[in-house]
């Protein structure tokens, strides 16, 4: 992460439409969005407003119908599918609402998954996994399977998986949406620490104003447009 623009996000005139049967629905309208490196942005908005869709475009999980998406200076909408996959592996960490761990793999193997795509040796991978485990404070759960972990613990493993390749940008889709207040607060504290101490850029979708308050900036998505004020 030597480039100084690593972790920046820049969307220009982005539109995203979905087909539903014969009708075309426009979810994002000519939207512009900038995030500086090292920011912690909370993205709010009513359900169905397109928050996940926006996050997917930034993370290269989906492509805009028109407009450009630049992340860390790279115009990712122009990459081929396989280049985009490689790019995601190197630059993005995803955290999901329902953790999405592989149920058949132990915690450490789940965290190891992104590393399989790198040329690292087995020993190096083990090193990275144990670092990630200690960052999220889960060393003692390395050999546990997801079903043996609480929601909060599973989310910590999910975060460890997201940061194990040391990406500059973390994209979190309602990371506390499935957790009780206490566990949710712990996860938010962990994300803040990653932002503060490791300089990760974080974009976090949330419904919860209390969670959004942890962010350095809150932005609202409504009727396909972004604004700094919640809609009435």
């Amino acid at each position: 992460m030597s480039e100084n623009n690593s972790g920046t996000v820049s969307l220009r005139a982005v539109c995203k439409n979905f087909r539903r049967g014969s009708e075309e629905i426009q979810v994002l309208h000519t939207l512009d969005f900038e995030v500086q490196a090292g920011e912690f942005v909370a993205l709010m908005g009513p359900s169905g407003s397109g928050k996940s869709t926006l996050l997917n475009l930034i993370g290269g999980l989906d492509r805009p119908s028109s407009g450009t998406v630049e992340v860390s200076g790279e115009p990712i909408d122009r990459l081929s599918d396989s280049r985009l996959a490689g790019w995601r592996a190197r630059h993005i960490g995803f955290v999901f609402q329902f953790y999405n761990l592989m149920p058949t793999l132990s915690a450490d193997r789940n965290i190891d998954l992104p590393l399989l795509l790198t040329p690292l040796s087995k020993a190096q991978r083990r090193e990275h996994v144990s670092t990630a485990l200690s960052v999220v404070g889960m060393e003692h759960r390395a050999k546990h399977y997801p079903r043996q972990l609480s929601g909060g613990e599973q989310q910590r493993i999910g975060i460890a998986r997201a940061i194990v390749t040391d990406p500059s940008l973390l994209l979190c889709d309602e990371p506390t949406g499935d957790l009780d207040r206490k566990s949710g607060d712990d996860i938010l504290e962990l994300l803040s620490a990653l932002n503060r101490e490791q300089g990760k850029t974080i974009i976090m979708v949330t419904h919860d104003p209390h969670a959004a308050a942890k962010a350095s900036r809150v932005i609202y998505l409504n009727k396909g447009q972004l604004s700094t004020e919640p809609e009435e």
């Binding site: 999980l61 396989s82 999405n100 149920p103 058949t104 793999l105 193997r109």
Partner: protein
């Protein structure tokens, strides 16, 4: 292969389903292995028949005999290297169900014609010294506990003795082994000179000739020459290559090979559906997980290979279990107790079996793998 633990762990996801799928694949391969052995046994020796050997028999049937004087006349034909004769004895050892072939031969000639029959030199010398000597294949020796030095009585069915005795007595002087798998190790061979002198009737007559030719490419032509030589004589001949002879013999058993292939095809088609269904379900249940792997950076082709590797692993494990059990069952011996003298699992068929398992894996994994590959990440994650 660093992905193996992921693929392997997927098999443990629905253990009962995995076990049932493995079992059904294994059963198909047990059947495959066993039928392969039976098919090989029915086509006995076709694959090991010497391309340079001809069988010359009476034109009317194998039961009709030929004069021993043909020996010299065949030997004179251009291209013939060596000639030997054999005569079927068809006797009974203790009970009719104890079946093994007993054949009268000239020892030196016979061993020269059939180098795949291996007899230790001192046993051959012993045979040459012992008029009533017999040499027996290892399988038959093991089955009936024959040892060198034993005197074995064989009840005559075709050949009565001049002295009026019902039983012919032979002294076991040697035990032969095949030099490669597939060689019939059940035969009981004894000396023609003893047989010819002691039999009542049929003197100077033999069952069939075996002819070794110098150039296998000329085998057909030489066979024709032999038949021409004896045309219009009281005992006309039919000469053909050993392979053709054995095949003709196998056909008399009926086209069992074709029936077996039909059964196997049906079984494999069923297995294709069973394993294919398992793989299809597996991918359907894992849509979100596949989306997550892709979001992490797994490419579409990597996902395709992972699913294919999983289906191949299932097929190879199931097939491996089946083939191993088949090997054990086959090596336990001929199920008919003597009717199939050559009963073993031929190595080429084992390789075919492994290939078949791999093919099964690729076929059953193909559509699910393509489906997993095409899955759109955003779509997949919305299933959450």
């Amino acid at each position: 292969m660093k992905y193996l633990p992921i693929i392997w762990s997927n098999l443990g996801r629905k253990k009962i389903r995995t076990v049932l799928t493995l079992l059904s694949i294994a059963v198909a391969f047990i059947l495959f292995g066993y039928l392969a052995a039976i098919e090989e046994a029915l086509g006995q020796g076709v694959s090991i028949a010497g391309a340079d050997r001809l069988i010359v028999r009476h034109k009317v049937s194998l039961i009709q005999l030929l004069p021993v004087s043909y020996h010299a006349r065949i030997a004179q034909i251009d291209g013939v290297d060596r000639v030997g004769h054999s005569t079927w004895f068809g006797g009974i050892y203790q009970e009719p169900r104890n079946f093994f072939a007993q054949i009268a031969v000239e020892p030196d000639e016979f061993l020269a014609l059939f180098p795949e029959f291996k007899l230790p030199a001192e046993q051959l010398e012993n045979w040459q010294r012992t008029r009533t000597g017999a040499v027996v294949g290892k399988d038959t020796a093991d089955r009936y506990g024959f040892k060198i030095g034993d005197r074995v009585p064989i009840q005559a069915t075709i050949w009565q003795k001049k002295d009026g005795n019902e039983a012919w007595e032979f002294d076991i002087v040697g035990i032969y082994e095949g030099t490669k798998p597939g060689v019939d190790e059940t035969q009981f061979l004894f000396r023609y000179d003893y047989f010819d002198e002691a039999r009542l009737g049929g003197e100077g007559e033999v069952g069939w000739y075996t002819v070794k030719v110098g150039d296998p490419d000329r085998a057909e032509e030489i066979a024709r020459q032999i038949d021409i030589q004896f045309a219009n004589s009281p005992a006309e001949t039919k000469a053909e290559t050993e392979g053709a002879f054995v095949q003709g013999f196998a056909k008399q058993v009926g086209n069992i090979g074709a029936i077996m292939k039909a059964i196997l095809s049906a079984v494999f088609f069923t297995i294709l559906l069973v394993a294919g269904n398992t793989m299809a379900q597996t991918v359907r249940e894992r849509v979100v997980e596949i989306g997550v792997l892709k979001s992490i950076g797994f490419t579409d082709t990597k996902i395709l290979s992972l699913v294919l590797a999983e289906s191949c692993l299932i097929a190879l494990v199931g097939g491996g279990i089946g083939l191993s059990i088949a090997l054990v069952l086959v090596s336990a011996g001929d199920p008919t107790g003597g009717g199939l003298p050559v009963f073993f699992f031929p190595t080429p068929k084992l390789i075919v079996g492994v290939g078949l398992a791999l093919l099964l894996g690729l076929l059953t994994g193909f559509f699910p793998a393509v489906r997993a590959m095409r899955l759109q990440i955003a779509e997949a994650l919305r299933r959450n």
